[in-house]
Symmetry: C2
Subunit: 133 residues, 2 copies
């Protein structure tokens, strides 16, 4: 999906960005419901995501736009953009190409508390070296 | 699920709390996959959640622990506690009693961009007056 300037303005006006101009965005695989990752967006990232239909975050560590998949080819195509009651969290329904996690796992939430321990519940599907090497 | 002190210490050591001592937590209905809400936890909230098996957040607006459902009876029972690759986001698989959203809707993400507009895609199931009145 791609949106025009009027729609994007409507969305930007409805989002409550924090003191740093950021809002958390949760990415969920649209058909399976799997929660893939959480990252941050600023106004520019929201605008680019809605304009292009490809998810773009704001990398806090690198201090720049992060076009998901620009290095790894693991692109997120936007299926639906949702906003919560307070406008301070975004839910992105996406079609995830390959894997969402930089460790090569499908999703970032691969550690779980089970039987009194924090255990890994998913293995890498792709060698991170192949993603970023 | 409830956890002992050793397990809780393991989890707390693995979580990267931000400069304010907080970490975002996404709540997902464990069987349907629906993303219900996002809120924040501090060390105390993580500890209480894992100890009691009932989800407890930190309310940034009220500046105190927020035992989900304490006013509304819309309790979240913890099914599984997951952590992401960087330890800076929690995913809670929960059994949500009733509704998660203070508006009376099942989930907080009830606004979506469709046909160029930001529209409501879910109606309240419970009158908020009945939840908090």
């Amino acid at each position: 999906m791609t949106e025009d300037a009027t729609t994007i303005t409507t969305v930007l006006d409805a989002v409550s960005f924090d003191a740093n101009g950021l809002v958390p965005a949760v990415a969920q695989q649209h058909d399976t419901g799997e929660v893939l990752m959480m990252a941050w967006m600023n106004r520019e990232a929201v605008t680019e995501t809605l304009t292009t239909g490809r998810v773009c975050y704001w990398s806090r560590s690198r201090g720049k736009l992060w076009r998901k998949g620009e290095s790894s080819q693991q692109i997120q195509y936007l299926k639906e953009f949702r906003l919560d009651c307070d406008g301070d969290t975004i839910l992105l329904l996406v079609e995830q190409e390959g894997v969402a996690c930089h460790t090569g796992r499908r999703a970032c939430f691969y550690r779980a508390v089970r039987d009194g321990a924090l255990v890994e519940i998913a293995a890498p599907l792709i060698d991170p070296e192949k993603l970023y090497g």
